[in-house]
């Protein structure tokens, strides 16, 4: 689940739906996710561990746009690098694209480690 120390985006995206982030603990785990308890914000992703998007904790419109860009639930992500001083993160997606994601936004995206079985497949 997204920890409380992740500051919200410098925008009002969550104001319309304040429950969206807290709901993640009860959300059904996406396929391949080991357990929701292992989930954390995308911002905290480690270099050696591919993850899968569980939920995008933003309003429906923004989440829909991100999904269209290839950043929706179920997408696998691998961290390539982080920009200096808390800048964006650079990830490769399972669909074959690469994305730069703003750090504040990455704190609102919930991911979980990809299970070993799925990684082999």
């Amino acid at each position: 689940m997204v920890s409380n120390d992740s500051p919200p985006l410098p925008l009002d995206v969550n104001l319309s739906d304040p429950g969206s982030i807290d709901d993640t603990s009860t959300a059904a785990p996406a396929h391949g996710v080991r357990a929701a308890s292992l989930a954390g914000p995308l911002a905290a992703i480690r270099h050696d561990e591919p993850v899968q998007v569980v939920e995008v904790g933003l309003d429906v419109e923004l989440a829909g746009w991100l999904e269209a860009m290839g950043l929706g639930p179920g997408q696998t992500l691998t961290l390539l690098r982080r920009a200096a001083f808390g800048g964006p993160i650079h990830v490769r997606t399972g669909s074959g694209g690469e994305l730069a994601i703003n750090a504040a936004l990455a704190r609102s995206i919930l991911v979980a480690p990809v299970s070993p079985s799925r990684r082999l497949a």
């Binding site: 985006l9 290839g70 920009a83 800048g87 964006p88 994305l99 730069a100």
Partner: protein, 644 residues
């Protein structure tokens, strides 16, 4: 829909709106524009579509069988289902689809997708099919795919999605004929012949469609990782920013080293032309209007041209090579301080050369509020047109303080521009452009070598658009200013005019009358009527300040050496014999020139980009108000501090 089109021959120009429309659609970076260029051979023009205010390139092509079709290159879009702001590129593409669908005009959607990223493109395909648009699918980047040692099983892909699919490379000259044949066949057969399937998973279909070529050798592997290796250097935490700064410095140097001599040559040519006209017509008012009013205005338009072309070329090279996204990645954190995102770096940097192309370059900002913010603060950046005036003011009022003080002040003026932009941006993000911002989510495309023809075409388009849309405004303002400066004030010939140190006609002009009338307003800033006339003259273009002051103080050739003019200004007296100006006047004037948007070209460019007079009027109002207040604070504040 298209049953009757197969054999329709349209040749009359007035029937252009009847021609079948072929809309190229695809994700940004999918290679759509390269394919469009290949299809049309570069003979594109801006199409006219009701309700669409953004330029959409179109070209007419003759298909097999003689049918003439209009091909349109839509802005990139990720989805036709997710909600987007109508002002963005995506919103424009969506509106285009809606409007042309309502018009009843026969049309075919051609979806261009990147063959190396099938899953992402197929997501959009499924949305198009759901909407009943049944596109023809053109997978491009065939050369890259093969370079990676991969192939696509087209038959399997066609069966899975229920649509015709072709695989091409925009670099292959044969791609044009193949695509035109496929387009003609699709128009002839009608979308109903293959409406497409809706129940399939883009990721699964993409996985199944890829065929790994047996001979996937080490060379192919190396090519595949080129982008990864380049990024390891270009995005390196230490090396990346240094290379970025070096590249930007190079871009800046190119503007000054290449554009300045070209601009000077054009200026000299205009001057010679003016001399010819003057000699032919004599010293009549009409000759002055032609030379100073119209030719002067045309000179201003031409002076911007080299910068526009160089900056457009640079931007296209950065964009097409894939480096633009890397630059945004590197500076995103920095620009967040201003309430902007990494994408804004290029327009803001260009603004330090010239705000006019920079305003145009804000199109790369996806978020409309961020874009508007960037447009509104751009006029504050220390553009190159400020340099002559800064030079004159520093020479006039600070020569006595030594070269170091002048140099420090000069650097300080650039910092002041950036700082005022920062403040304006912070204020605007909380007022005029308040609201949700799209955080940076940026595709990092693979590096590619830009296509020179495509880049050249963009540069020509930018130059032409500038002439057409901004040039006309500059000419009009130039003509109005000529009237103000050269036509005598009705009922003028005041005693004050004859008592002044010069007898040039400008002292009895309308501008001089206005300048004297507003003296009570500008006196708290330390500005007398002569400076006011200079400010009126530089309303259209700030660099005119130098020339206008030259006319007022009767100094010719002030552009070559500001020293004589500076001396005259320093020695200027009030009617009571006291010195008219002091160091405080100089500081107040500098503050005024940092902030005021004395540039009709920028105003016209903002009008063009925002499609309304509201925002250009806002820029004029807020920048002049800020300039007045800043000059007032500087003049009065330094007075309180005891500066002479």
């Amino acid at each position: 829909v298209t049953a009757a089109l197969g054999d329709e021959r349209v040749t009359r120009p007035e029937a252009a709106a009847e021609r079948p429309l072929v809309a190229l659609l695809g994700r940004p970076n999918s290679g759509k524009s390269s394919l469009f260029n290949r299809l049309t051979g570069g003979s594109a023009h801006v199409g006219n579509f009701p309700g669409i205010t953004v330029d959409i390139l179109t070209a007419d092509v003759r298909l097999a069988g003689g049918t003439v079709a209009t091909i349109a290159d839509l802005p990139g879009l990720y989805s036709i289902e997710s909600v987007v702001d109508p002002a963005t590129d995506e919103g424009v593409a969506r509106r285009f689809l809606d409007r042309t669908g309502e018009s009843g005009r026969a049309r075919l959607i051609v979806q261009v997708l990147d063959a190396t990223q099938l899953a992402l493109g197929l997501r959009l395909t499924r949305e198009l099919v759901r909407r009943g648009l049944a596109p023809l699918i053109v997978a491009t980047q065939r050369d890259v795919l093969e370079g990676e040692g991969r192939a696509i099983d087209l038959g399997a892909l066609e069966r899975a999605v229920g649509l015709p699919v072709m695989l091409v490379s925009a670099r292959d000259p044969g791609a044009r004929g193949a695509m035109l044949d496929a387009i003609a066949a699709r128009i002839g057969a009608g979308a109903a012949s293959a409406p497409g399937a809706t129940t399939w998973d883009p990721d699964a279909v993409a996985r199944a469609a890829y065929v790994e070529a047996p001979a996937r050798d080490a060379a192919a592997e190396r090519r595949r990782t080129f982008t990864a290796r380049a990024d390891a250097v270009l995005l390196h935490p230490a090396v990346g920013p240094v290379l970025f700064l070096a590249l930007m410095a190079l871009l800046f140097a190119a503007v000054f080293l290449v554009a300045t001599p070209v601009t000077e040559a054009l200026d000299a040519a205009i001057g010679r032309l003016g001399g010819l006209v003057s000699r032919a017509l004599g010293a009549r008012l009409a000759a002055s209007f032609l030379v100073d009013g119209l030719l002067g205005g045309a000179g201003t338009v031409l002076a911007f041209m080299p910068q526009i072309v160089i900056l457009t070329v640079a931007m296209e090279l950065l964009e097409a090579s894939g480096y633009l996204a890397r630059g945004a990645f590197l500076v995103d954190r920095l620009l967040q301080v201003m309430g902007l995102s990494g994408r804004a770096f290029l327009p803001l940097l260009m603004g330090h050369a010239c705000a006019v192309p920079a305003v145009q370059a804000t199109r790369i900002l996806r978020d409309p509020r961020e874009r508007l913010t960037a447009i509104l603060v751009l006029p504050l950046m220390a553009c190159s047109a400020r340099i002559p005036t800064y030079g004159l003011l520093l020479t006039t009022f600070f020569a006595a303080y030594g070269a170091w003080v002048q140099a420090l002040l000069f650097v300080g003026l650039y910092v002041a521009g950036i700082f005022s932009g920062l403040v304006a941006s912070l204020v605007l993000r909380r007022t005029a452009t308040r609201g949700r911002a799209l955080p940076l989510v940026l595709e990092m495309p693979a590096y590619r070598s830009p296509e020179p023809r495509l880049v050249a075409r963009k540069a020509v388009e930018a130059a032409w658009r500038f002439t057409r849309e901004v040039g006309t405004v500059i000419l009009a303002v130039s003509a109005v200013l000529w009237v103000l400066l050269k036509v005598p004030m009705p009922g003028a010939a005041t005693p004050a005019a004859t008592a002044e140190l010069t007898s040039t006609p400008i002292t009895s002009s309308i501008a001089a009358g206005v300048g004297r009338a507003i003296e009570p307003v500008t006196a708290p800033l330390g500005f007398d009527w002569r400076i006011n006339v200079g400010l009126i003259g530089s309303f259209g273009a700030r660099e005119v300040m130098v020339g206008t002051m030259g006319v007022i103080f009767g100094v010719e050739d002030e552009a070559d050496d500001p020293a004589p003019l500076a001396a005259r200004i320093r020695e200027a007296r009030r009617p009571d014999g006291a010195h008219a100006y002091s160091t405080r006047t100089g500081l107040a004037l500098l503050a005024f020139f940092v902030l005021a948007c004395q540039c009709m070209s920028t105003v016209a460019a903002i009008r063009r980009e925002t499609k309304t007079w509201r925002w250009p009027a806002f820029v004029l109002a807020y920048s002049y108000a800020a300039a007045y207040v800043a000059a007032l604070v500087v003049y009065q504040g330094t007075g309180l501090l005891g500066l002479p």
